[in-house]
Homo-oligomer: 391 residues x 2
């Protein structure tokens, strides 16, 4: 199952994945999902926002237990972030069937679209649209780096632009459990190959626009320059220093320089900042300092997205912990579709699989085979528990 997926969207030069939403590669991933469901006799439905659901049992009979994750990636991402949760879901269904398990409620597997937000800039776009946390008009107008809107990308992918909150699809989800590779070193030096999630840190993405005056890099005196790269450099250093001081993290991983010519003083630097931390007020303090810095340079800092801290359903977390023999409990700086569903009020939990290096969003992302199999076993146990009784 894994081998069919491993080559899709892989850049041979880096070994990393470029699985961006609503591309040809994404189409191939969705075809793979449909085929995996078909070969197991699961019924595939697609909600208004394009998220794919594979059902064992009638999803409209009573609220089901859903697992799954996403198949898209960041640019040059790893093989596990997302796909591990989808593959483990199918594998768990195979084990349950092999054991002659008969679900007392519908059991679903979901592939959320556009989780990374790598193309249009908003993470968890598929689940945010589904729950109404992201307004359709705003989403459709988002542009990728080539200027293509999400609306245009949807049409190119053969999808409708009539997207938005889908209460019918949401009503089918009685509980959601997402299995995901851990993205830090929370399990690296512990005995357990799996953990249960307690919370997701508050998380924001911000866009700095720092204007300059385009001019010739050879003939313009230093004193005559308005060079926005200087403010950009100060912003990068301030983001790190401020995050350190406030016990948060902040990253300037993306930039666009106009015109980006070696002999031209730029007219504009657009820089993106990602900031998170255990405490929302601390993250807000970092952002306030960076806003002041951008404004002192004649620029702006605009919030592109903000997600409050998510605490997973306490009862469900206790039930998962109990079923799994009380493994470690971790919080995480990474956002997930599970967090969006939890914020919407659906009982939601997560299982993390050990990451020996903590590396993620990189071709070097890795999990041991035995740990992945332990994740499948854990997910199987949890699904048997949750779907073994009617609610």
């Amino acid at each position: 199952m894994w081998s069919d997926l491993i080559a899709v969207g892989r850049d041979p030069s880096t070994g990393g994945y470029r699985r961006l939403a609503w591309t040809r590669t994404d189409h191939d991933l969705r075809e793979w999902f449909s085929a995996a469901a078909d070969s197991r006799g699961l019924d595939v439905t697609v909600d208004r926002c394009g998220n794919q659901w594979a059902w064992w049992g009638d999803p409209d009979a009573n609220p089901g237990v859903v697992t799954g994750s996403h198949l898209d990636s960041v640019p040059d991402g790893g093989a596990y972030d997302g796909p591990l949760g989808v593959i483990a879901a199918f594998a768990a269904v195979d084990v349950l069937r092999g054991n002659g398990f008969a679900p007392a409620r519908p059991l679903g597997i979901v592939n959320f679209c556009d989780e990374e937000g790598a193309r249009f800039g908003i993470a968890c776009a598929g689940s945010r649209l589904l729950t109404g946390a992201l307004a359709p008009d705003r989403a459709l107008a988002l542009r990728d780096k080539d200027g293509v809107t999400m609306a245009e990308a949807l049409v190119t992918a053969g999808r409708t632009t009539s997207i938005g909150r889908d209460d019918e699809a949401l009503a089918r989800v009685g509980a959601f459990v997402e299995l995901h590779v851990e993205q830090g070193r929370g399990l690296a030096e512990r005995e357990s190959p799996v953990a249960v999630a307690s919370a997701i840190w508050p998380h924001g993405r911000f866009r700095a626009e720092l204007p300059g005056e385009a001019n010739h890099a050879g003939t313009t005196r230093l004193s005559d320059r308005v060079d926005p790269t200087l403010a950009y450099a100060r912003l990068i250093l301030a983001a790190r220093e401020s995050a350190q001081r406030h016990g948060a993290v902040a990253t300037c991983g993306k930039v666009r320089i106009d015109p980006n010519g070696v002999n031209a003083i730029p007219s504009l630097v657009t820089a993106w900042i990602d900031s998170r931390g255990p405490v929302g007020d601390d993250v807000r303090a970092v952002v306030a300092e960076l806003t002041a810095l951008a404004e002192s340079a004649g620029g702006t800092l605009t919030e592109e997205s903000w997600t409050d801290a998510t605490t997973f359903d306490t009862d469900l977390r206790k039930r998962l912990s109990h079923a799994l023999g009380e493994p470690p409990v971790l919080d995480t700086g990474a956002g997930h579709d599970a967090g969006i569903l939890a914020a919407h009020g659906i009982p939601t939990g997560m299982i993390f699989v050990r990451n020996p290096t903590g590396v993620s969003h990189s071709p070097a992302e890795f999990a041991e085979r035995d740990d992945c199999l332990a994740g499948v076993t854990a997910l199987t146990t949890v699904l048997a528990d949750l779907a073994g009784s009617p609610a």
Copy 2:
């Protein structure tokens, strides 16, 4: 004549020009040059490197007087940098013909290709290849931002890849005079609309490669990060500070961040630095400091090009100054094909046309119409002087 050229390669959203070498836009500019020559009965030749020459008189009879410039631009460049020198050349020929002037030696107009180096990174590529200052193998292997080599671009443009030093074409150039819009404020507050050039500053382009460790921007502790944007930020600030201290200029106008994702710590930052100044040793001192900084961050700083100071031919400069009534004499931080030909030993001079703001390499680049016409008059005077006698 200007109106036919004004729309070619113009980006309607910025008003700037995107006339990159060996593109469809470049093809249109070359067609314009051929048509301008044809309509005047000038014979067009193309040398081994693709530079276009339009001749009044037999260029193989005896060494000619050549004027002209280039038609390509930086990304979002202005309308005057390059085209003013080509258009003024055709206009000067029109005036000389209208006056019944009979040249005693061949008179040529040249359009040097790829002067800005905006696509493949090496400025004055056409004249450097022509004189042998740039090795053909190195040039052909250069890649643009999409990974296309110059060799591939030449084939796509219908050109040969058998490029290189062309002694036959060089032998036709007895003297070269390039008219160019001034790119600083050297004439902005002076009475004269034109100046004669004394020298071109030494000039280098350098590429910094700063490696990091790709990782997740949310889950990686600050202390576990190898984030290359921090070294990049320090490089930007050090370039400015060091240039200021050494009486030079330095600019970080271009960068590539891999993978350039908002939620990914980059694996690599590649930054380009352009540095120039009146004194070569001062520029070298700036570069040495930045090299040390890049190396202390585990990176490298590689020289992509270096051009020593160019002092224009003293006799020719005096002759131009005398013919033009002793206008101001300026040095310049901008590189030009004239500098490449001068370094090759061809008697070479330059005429600058006043730039009221000093802005260049920007859509805001500008010269007053009267000053452009004064430039044509000056060029006409100089050509009449130089081509009026056999040598």
